[in-house]
Every structure is written in structure tokens, then in C-alpha cells.
């Protein structure tokens, strides 16, 4: 049995452009289908149609075609922000909310609640309040609340976009359980790196048209379509893609173990210890945190005696699971929080006593959710906001150049909130260009970005550092962290575990194991093959393999 999407075309109003153009595909029963595509490709509109939001709630558009399912077929959605979806104070209240609406007996409700608690292995959460759950746990409860209604199709919209590695692991487990139970699931996400093992079938959308509809392996074989769709793929697949472009007859590999075997056939495995990189030249320390401790009013110790140094013109990433103190720490750097103990020095001078706005002239923090920042009437005004707020003179041509370079010029008169999530995020980061800040802190900058936007983000970071600015980045995207960073600071439960160059830290497996964060495949493979230095991105790894072949 399958559910058929039959030639669907849609536009939101009669005078707007088509968002979906003659879209047809099948969702196979018991399989996990991934719908991928760049920002603005029509994924969200498709979810609205599949879930019945269009035309039940939104009936002003023009809709053609059909989604061929029987009337009794139940389709439910797990949104990317469970806090907006869960109704109920406690976990049991939230899980039972949907089934209570179905008017079934109390006994049946109890049975369904028990079923999903067991299926997802979250019995231990049942007496907790939703507000106290971690991101991953909240997402799992959200999935449970929807599953309790026994949907025929479960749609998950970017379910791990704001989760830490522990949260992602939990959702991976949940998805595997669903797959084993025969649940038909649709994942709408442009990042397949976290779910490549689980997905069976991939549907690619660009500009509202289906450009790919086949099984996962065929998708991973089709390099052109991966790039065109801007999908983040597992780094192992990326390595295979780049290597196979340069080495003829390379056998396929999509996992670390397969990569070890196949690359090993080419270059063999060298034994011996990995030499530690020569000491990197130290730059001027622009920002220093000395013995920062923070205890909140309720007694919670968020930071315990954290020392950290940030060098001029370097990229420093902060790693740790949710609750490790990353955001609390950076809020001390820009003065949003005052330490219970310790000091922050910028260019040797304490920042104590200055307002956050005053500190922002030197140290600027860009928040995780762009909606917390956007309020101007046009994209151009938003871009120049920081400069105007700080009283910094700027050149209009320079501002327009920035918009042009990052493909936002056509939107310069648009209302910023109408941009896609990734573009909004990009805009808030770009607004820092015209400020005077020497230190720029980005909290989860890749949120909502497809691969194309992530590439632009990398370019922005390079431009900042080339101007001598120091970048401090909080991110859960570990391959990206290793690719762009010079140094890494690791926090765990408010304590600093390490701060060092990424090459040195790449050899500290014990630290990464203790915080349950996996090293990127290129690092693992570099160490496995005994490379003279740890590669931190796919290109340098592939080059190293090629050099060895020569």
C-alpha cells in the first residue's frame, strides 16, 4: 500500500507564483521517506497539503491535483519546535492531549499512552513537567503525543534542527523504533547527515518541482543532484564523492568502517603514533575570561571557574551538550550576565560597569533565533541596524555590495520577516559587518540554513577573520566546527574541560567520549591512516589520500 501525491500544483493567491508545480510521488507504507530541497523549494507548503492544513485552515490559495488517501487515513505532524506544539503541563498530559480529542474511552487512552511510552522508551519521563525536559526529550514527547493517535503517516519537520548531539541520538533511536514497528514516516529536512541510516526513500524538490524521487542509495550516488539540492550529507558520503571524482574504480562506501576498508585498499594503514602538530603561532589575546563562576538565584551553578583566552583574528568554537554552560558563558563575554566571581577583560581592560550596548561596540553577540532580532521595515535597514545603533558611519554602496554578494539585493526593500529562516539568520549575521565590533559571537549560526547558505556562512566567517575580527561560535555541527575553527573550547556541566587547537584536541578521544560527541569522520580516518596531520575537512583529507597514492 502507498499514499499517492497526484499532480499537485499550488499558489497562495491568484496573483502569486506557483509554489508547487505538478508534484507527484508515492509515500510507501512502512518506509521512511525524506523530502529534501533548498530554502524556498516548497517543502513547508507540501507539508501543509499532506497534513490537510491546506485547504482546511488555509483556503485562500489555488489548489490543483490531489493527495489520494482515504478519508479515515490519519496523518499527523511533529513540528521543529515542540514547545509550540505540546499542550499540557506534564508529559502524560501532553501525550494524551491528541487522543483525548478522538473521544475514545479512558481505558483506550491509557493503553495508547502506555504503548508510546514503551515504544519510545520514555517511561522515565512520564511524571516530569514538559518545561523541565531537554530539547531531545521534548521532541520525543512530541512524537509520542502524535504516535498515540496511531497516525497512518507521521510527518517530522526538521526534527533535530535545534538539538544537541545527545538529543539527535535520542531522535535517531526513536526513528529506528518507528521503522521497526512499520510506521510510515516522512522526514522533511535538508540535512541527511543525521538520518542517512534510517531513510529509505528520498524526494528532492527545487522551485516547487520534484527533481529526484528514488531510493537512498541512488540519491547518494547522484553527486550532481546532492549539490543542486543543497543537502547536507554524511561526511563519509562526501569523502566518497570527492575521492571517486579523482580515483577511477573506487568501491562505494557510506560508513566509517567501509571507508577504512576501501581507502585502506588504496593507501594501506600506517602504524605508529600521530605526531602532534607544531605549536601554532600565538596572536594577541583580545578577550580573556578569568575564573568565571556563575550561580543563579535558585542555587544552580551554571559555570565553575572557567578561564578562556580568545586570540585576535582566530575562530574559536565552543562545544558541549545542552546545559553545559555555552550560552551562559558567552552572555558573560558581552555583559548580558554578570559573573558571581571572575572578570572579563577586553584588550586588557575589565568590561565591568559597561552596558551591553556599550560593550557591543567591541563584542557583539548574534542570537540563535533571528526572529528575536529582526524588526526593521526593510532588509537594507536591518543590515545597517548595528551601525546606526552604535553610531558608526557607513557607506551605502558598501551595504548594497554586501547584500549583492550574499544574494539578498533583490530583497532589499522586503520585510525581513518574510525571508526564509536561513536568509533571516544570514541577514542578522551580515548586519555585524557594518559594526565596529572586533569580537563576533555566533550562537548556532547554521539554524535553518541549507548547504548553499552554510557555504555563504563559511565565507562570511573567512571575511571577518581576514579583517582581524575574532569569531566565537557555538555550534552542534561538529564537522563544520572542525572545518572552520582554529581553537576549540569544551565545556561540560559548567566546567571547562579543554581549550586548545583543533589538531591537538583531535587526539583527545577521551574528552570527546566523556561529553558524548563523536569526532568528524575525516578526523577519525586521518588518525586511523596515521596521517602526518589531522585533516579537518573533506578536501584536505582527499588531497592527503591522493598525495599518498602519488
Amino acid at each position: 500500500m502507498s499514499f499517492t501525491v497526484n499532480s499537485i500544483s499550488y499558489k497562495y493567491s491568484s496573483d502569486s507564483n506557483l509554489v508547487l508545480k505538478n508534484v507527484s510521488f508515492n509515500i510507501k507504507e512502512g518506509q521512511v521517506t525524506a523530502i529534501v530541497g533548498p530554502s524556498g523549494s516548497g517543502k513547508s507548503t507540501l507539508v501543509s497539503i499532506l497534513s490537510g492544513v491546506i485547504p482546511t485552515l488555509i483556503d485562500s490559495g489555488e489548489y490543483e491535483g490531489s493527495f489520494d488517501v482515504e478519508e479515515k487515513v490519519n496523518i499527523s505532524v511533529v513540528s521543529q519546535s515542540p514547545e509550540n506544539q505540546l499542550f499540557g503541563y506534564g508529559v502524560e498530559d501532553a501525550i494524551s492531549f491528541g487522543i483525548e480529542n478522538m473521544g475514545i474511552s479512558n481505558e483506550e487512552i491509557i493503553e495508547s499512552v502506555e504503548y508510546v511510552l514503551d515504544l519510545l522508551n520514555i517511561q522515565h519521563l512520564r511524571k516530569r513537567s514538559v518545561a523541565t525536559l531537554s530539547g531531545g526529550q521534548r521532541q520525543a514527547v512530541c512524537i509520542a503525543s502524535v504516535l498515540a493517535m496511531r497516525p497512518d503517516i507521521l510527518i517530522m519537520d526538521e526534527p533535530v534542527s535545534s538539538l544537541d548531539p545527545n538529543g539527535k541520538e535520542m531522535i535517531q533511536y526513536v526513528l529506528n523504533q518507528l521503522r521497526e514497528s512499520g510506521q510510515s514516516t516522512v522526514i522533511v529536512d535538508n540535512n541527511l547527515a543525521w538520518c542517512s541510516d534510517i531513510v529509505d526513500h528520498v524526494i528532492g524538490l527545487i522551485d516547487g518541482e520534484v527533481v529526484f524521487d528514488d531510493d537512498k542509495n541512488k540519491f547518494f550516488d547522484d553527486f550532481k543532484i546532492q549539490e543542486k539540492l543543497g543537502v547536507t550529507i554524511p561526511q563519509e558520503v562526501e569523502i566518497y564523492r570527492e575521492l571517486s571524482n579523482r580515483i577511477k574504480g573506487l568501491n562505494k562506501f557510506y560508513t566509517i568502517d567501509d571507508a577504512k576498508r576501501e581507502i585502506g585498499k588504496l593507501i594501506g594503514k600506517e602504524n605508529g603514533c600521530l605526531p602532534i602538530d607544531s605549536i601554532l603561532l600565538k596572536s594577541e589575546e583580545i578577550l580573556v575570561a578569568e575564573g568565571i563562576s556563575k550561580t543563579f538565584l535558585d542555587g544552580f551553578r551554571a559555570l565553575i571557574d572557567v578561564d578562556a583566552e580568545f586570540e585576535k583574528g582566530k575562530v574559536i568554537s565552543i562545544l558541549g551538550q545542552n546545559g553545559s554552560g555555552k550560552t551562559t558563558f558567552v552572555k558573560h563575554l558581552n555583559g548580558l550576565l554578570s559573573p558571581t566571581k571572575g572578570t572579563i577583560r577586553y584588550k586588557g581592560i575589565e568590561t565591568t560597569g559597561k552596558s551591553v550596548a556599550q560593550i557591543s561596540k567591541d563584542i557583539i553577540l548574534v542570537f540563535q533565533h533571528p526572529e528575536h532580532m529582526l524588526f526593521e521595515e526593510t532588509v537594507y535597514q536591518e543590515l545597517t541596524f548595528c551601525a546606526r545603533a552604535q553610531g558608526i558611519e557607513f557607506n551605502e554602496e558598501e551595504a548594497l555590495d554586501i547584500l549583492r554578494y550574499y544574494d539578498l539585493l533583490e530583497y532589499k526593500e522586503e520585510l525581513p520577516v518574510n525571508l526564509s529562516m536561513g536568509q533571516k539568520h544570514l541577514l542578522t549575521i551580515l548586519s555585524v559587518f557594518l559594526s565596529s565590533a572586533e569580537v563576533v559571537i555566533l550562537d548556532e549560526p547554521t539554524l535553518g540554513m541549507d548547504l548553499h547558505l552554510k557555504n555563504k556562512l563559511e565565507d562570511i566567517i573567512k571575511r571577518f577573520t581576514s579583517q582581524g575580527k575574532t569569531m566565537i561560535i557555538i555550534s552542534h555541527e561538529i564537522p563544520l566546527v572542525f572545518k572552520i575553527s582554529d581553537h576549540i573550547l569544551i565545556l561540560n556541566e559548567g566546567v571547562k574541560l579543554a581549550q586548545d587547537s583543533k589538531q591537538r584536541l583531535a587526539n583527545s578521544d577521551d574528552i570527546f567520549e566523556s561529553i558524548n560527541i563523536a569526532l568528524p569522520p575525516v578526523v577519525i580516518l586521518s588518525k586511523y591512516f596515521g596521517f602526518s596531520h589531522v585533516c579537518s575537512d573533506t578536501n584536505s583529507f582527499v588531497q592527503e589520500v591522493i598525495d599518498r597514492l602519488v
Binding site: 519546535s81 499542550f87 513537567s129 550596548a357 528575536h372 545603533a389
Partner: protein
């Protein structure tokens, strides 16, 4: 205290009560404090409330409430004091003077009774607020909905009330995050004149509006995903039932009400 004016998860006597018992307490005490104008009766009610707060270990939250509303209470006290000063009362006087304005003679008389009157009105307002807070602090929004439904309140109304209590803390948190985000980009909200501060807070209201609209949209989508239809008869996972604790609490409420009424009748001084 980040959890001000919100439900606080505890295992107290009040938390264990049936929400209907607490709603009844709220209604009875609200009516009582609205009609009761005797200082002695109000003082008695205050003692009863204090005992309930202490037994339930929520005294620190009430002190926090008192700190937050102290300006309002002081304003009410001073207002009645000033209004009272233009009336001459019987009884001991603190300060009295006469003056002439536009050929007319007036007396300004600050009496001990004016102080009493100010204190009575401030006390009434505090008791009204605190009885509401006592219920909110010990009843989560799911229990509120459950309690209201068992009183045959239409589900749409009960759900709406519960939703308000679910969303208010989220909006407060959003507002605080937006202030942080904007000040981090250079918007001065601390060290600036009052006019600039007002202007900058208006700027902050824009993203807040977008966020609230966005939340509203997400909630309506979620209601659709969960097939919420107010026309369909809804069943329930949890049941509520009263226990001996409710019986004790209802008894205390009834006895306190009777005592307060007696004290009101016996010691009421017309204000």
C-alpha cells in the same frame, strides 16, 4: 525569581488539593475580601493565609509577591491617606491645620483613622492578589482545565483559560530574550534617558509582536494536527477526585469565612 506569577512544582499540601477545592477557595476569599472592610477581620484573614502559606512552604513566593506589589500597595495607602486628610474625623489627630484658598477656609487633618483606612485598603488589595497567586502557584494549567471541565465549563472556554496560563510565561521569556538580543546588537536599554528608553522598548515590541503572531500560528497548526474540535465530545486520561485533604481545607475555609463575617459585623468602623 524567574518563576514569578507561574505554577511552581512542589509536593505541598496545596498542590495535592483538588483544583475545584482551590477554585472554591479563590471565589469565596475574593468575595470576602471585596466586601470585608474591617481591619480586624482582614487581619484575621491575613493570619489564616499566612498559616496556609507556611504549611505549604510557599512563604518565600508570597514575600516575593509582596516585594513586587509594594509600590502599588504604597500608592493605595498614600492615596487614601491624602484623600482622608481633606476630611476631619473623630478620634486622635496626628496633624491638623487650617488654610484659606480663594477666600474659602479649609482644614487639613491627618488623623490616626486615615492611617487605618489606608492600611485597610492596601491590605484588601494584597489579599485579593495573594489569593489569586496562591491558586496559580499551586495549580498547573492542565489541572485548571480539568477542574473547569468538571464544573461543566465548555471545553473551548476551559482550554482557552489553560492556554493563557501556558502562554504567558513563554511570552515573558520571549520579551526578555528580545531585550537581550537587541541590546547585544547595540540598542541601549540601560544607560539612556527615559524618553530613549521608551522609544527603544517600542522597537523591542515589534519582534515580540512577530513572535507572538508566530506562536499563535504554530498553536493553531498544532490544534489541527491534534484534531482538536470543540464540537466533538472529548474524553480524559486523568480523573480528579477529592481526598481527605480537601475536606480539611474546605472546613478551614468555611470556619475562616464564618469568623471573618462575625469579626466584620462586630468590629466594622464605617470608612
Amino acid at each position: 525569581m524567574g518563576d514569578f506569577l507561574q505554577y511552581v512544582e512542589m509536593d505541598s499540601f496545596l498542590h495535592k488539593l483538588d483544583p475545584r477545592t482551590k477554585f472554591s477557595f479563590f471565589i469565596v476569599m475574593s468575595v470576602l475580601t471585596s466586601f470585608c472592610k474591617s481591619g480586624v477581620a482582614l487581619l484575621f484573614l491575613f493570619v489564616v493565609f499566612t498559616a496556609i502559606w507556611i504549611i505549604s512552604h510557599i512563604g518565600k513566593y508570597m514575600i516575593e509577591l509582596l516585594k513586587k506589589v509594594k509600590v502599588l500597595l504604597l500608592f493605595i495607602f498614600l492615596l487614601w491617606l491624602i484623600l482622608g486628610a481633606f476630611m476631619v474625623n473623630d478620634g486622635p489627630t496626628i496633624y491638623r491645620t487650617t488654610y484659606t484658598l480663594l477666600g474659602n477656609g479649609y482644614t487639613l487633618s491627618l488623623d490616626w483613622f486615615d492611617l487605618y483606612k489606608g492600611a485597610v485598603f492596601a491590605m484588601r488589595v494584597f489579599l485579593m492578589i495573594s489569593v489569586f497567586y496562591t491558586v496559580i502557584l499551586s495549580t498547573n494549567f492542565s489541572q485548571i482545565i480539568l477542574g473547569l471541565r468538571s464544573w461543566r465549563v465548555p471545553y473551548a472556554v476551559a482550554f482557552g483559560i489553560g492556554l493563557v496560563f501556558q502562554i504567558i510565561p513563554i511570552i515573558i521569556q520571549e520579551f526578555s530574550t528580545i531585550i537581550e538580543a537587541q541590546s547585544s546588537r547595540g540598542l541601549e536599554v540601560d544607560k539612556c534617558s527615559a524618553i530613549s528608553k521608551i522609544k527603544n522598548y517600542i522597537i523591542i515590541s515589534m519582534p515580540l509582536l512577530f513572535r507572538v503572531l508566530g506562536k499563535g500560528h504554530s498553536i493553531s497548526l498544532a490544534m489541527h494536527y491534534y484534531k482538536l474540535d470543540f464540537k466533538t465530545k472529548r474524553t480524559s486520561y486523568k480523573m480528579i477526585k477529592a481526598s481527605y485533604l480537601d475536606a480539611i481545607f474546605v472546613s478551614v475555609t468555611v470556619i475562616s469565612t464564618v469568623f471573618t463575617v462575625v469579626l466584620q459585623l462586630k468590629y466594622y468602623i464605617p470608612l
